[in-house]
């Protein structure tokens, strides 16, 4: 079973994402900010990361830069999932090594399509 770490400061979003991902046969882990996510990754690298941008403590893009410096940190497929929907944010995310980008609001269909686009399902 593939693992997906859902990183979002909104409990509601994490819950929605968890439900969709579990239906897609993922084992889901959660983190409420970038730092929590980084610690989770140091313990065990997930196969996929669904990543919010704006979060307290450490935001998504900072987390992504740190992650890629970690041992084994190049492996997880990162999909941003954020309300930031302008080209400059999207381009920055892709430059830092995100594979896909979901603009909120999203639904199960979009998440599934994006995950299949990057070969996660």
């Amino acid at each position: 079973m593939k693992t997906c770490l859902v990183v979002d400061d909104s409990r509601v979003i994490r819950k929605v994402a968890r439900r969709i991902l579990e239906n897609l046969q993922f084992e889901v882990l959660e983190a409420a900010d970038g730092l929590e996510a980084l610690n989770a990754c140091k313990t065990a690298m997930p196969n996929a990361i669904l990543l919010d941008w704006n979060m307290p403590v450490m935001d998504g893009i900072t987390f992504l830069r740190q992650l890629r410096k970690e041992e084994g940190g190049k492996a997880p497929v990162v999909v941003f999932c954020t309300t930031e929907n302008d080209l400059s944010h999207i381009t920055e995310a892709l430059t830092e090594g995100a594979s896909e980008y979901i603009m909120k609001p999203f639904d199960g269909e979009i998440l599934e399509a994006k995950f299949s686009e990057v070969g996660l399902i």
């Binding site: 929907n85 080209l87 999207i90 892709l94 979901i102 979009i110 399509a113 994006k114």
Partner: protein
């Protein structure tokens, strides 16, 4: 809604667009026509249908016919027909079309995602096929859809359905809350109103025809008539793509399926019989 009115509507739709209204489509009629009734100043859908039956208002007939079409589509829908184009159809045609021009017709283009997907894909392969020019025609019965297709403007939801993010970044710009295709891709497609029930002669010779997810709405006889007209337009060594739920089997022998290529058909003429029906042979 009175039974006479719904029967009249069903007959009118079959004649105008080929659409077969199954039984118990009250919900569909209501949901599609309520906005039309409101816009046209009728008290409700029932009043609209009665007027449709008793007066012969061509404009209203067209508006209703258009509103009853199903326009669902998205970028790179079903993927396979685009993968097959890239891996097999395009390389085969690139060898034989010495002028470099390849003519493609999207026969039910709806809001444009299908032809635009082809144009973006081709642009991504520019360096590989510097000589090739796709001449893409998109047609549909729905003026509403064609207008949107021509504008190249899509909602955030639409650009997230099937479109890889790299392509969105490369070919779209953000305009307020919408996303607009770059002029280069928009200019690659000609859009035109065309009813598949009419004489299709004006479309001219085509190398590839995408006729996806429209025949499903027609009855057998209409499917046959449309497919046979399409066969007359397709080059003998051309290709036809149908939707995932569509086939020619049991409808016409103008086409035959390609082995190992789901949804892809070639002509079944004497001339085409000598051409391989399998790629790479």
């Amino acid at each position: 809604m009175s039974p006479e009115d719904t029967e009249h509507l069903a007959a009118m739709l079959k004649q105008r667009s080929g659409l077969i209204l199954g039984s118990d489509k009250t919900y569909l009629i209501e949901s599609r026509l309520a906005p039309v009734a409101r816009r046209e100043g009728f008290a409700n859908v029932a009043a609209l249908l009665t007027s449709l039956r008793t007066r012969r208002d061509e404009k209203l007939i067209y508006t209703v016919t258009d509103a009853m079409t199903t326009n669902e589509t998205f970028f790179f829908r079903d993927k396979t027909p685009f993968d097959q184009f890239k891996s097999d159809v395009l390389p085969a045609l690139a060898k034989t079309r010495l002028s470099g021009d390849i003519k493609i017709w999207c026969a039910a283009a709806s809001t444009g995602q299908e032809p635009y997907s082809l144009a973006m894909m081709m642009e991504d392969m520019r360096h590989q096929y510097p000589r090739i020019n796709l001449d893409i025609l998109g047609t549909d019965i729905s003026e509403r859809c064609l207008e949107k297709a021509q504008s190249g403007l899509y909602t955030q939801f639409e650009v997230q359905r099937g479109l890889p993010i790299q392509m969105m970044v490369k070919y779209f710009e953000k305009v307020d809350e919408m996303w607009r295709l770059s002029p280069k891709i928009r200019q690659a497609i000609r859009f035109r109103k065309l009813n598949l029930l009419d004489n299709l002669h004006s479309v001219g010779r085509q190398d590839v025809i995408y006729c996806r997810n429209v025949l499903i709405y027609f009855d057998l006889e209409t499917k046959k008539r449309v497919l046979e007209q399409i066969a007359n337009l397709l080059a003998d060594d051309g290709y036809l793509f149908l939707g995932a739920a569509e086939t020619v089997l049991g409808i016409t022998d103008a086409f035959k399926p390609m082995t190992g290529m789901r949804g892809l058909y070639v002509k079944n003429t004497a001339a085409a019989a000598t051409a391989p029906r399998r790629f790479g042979t």
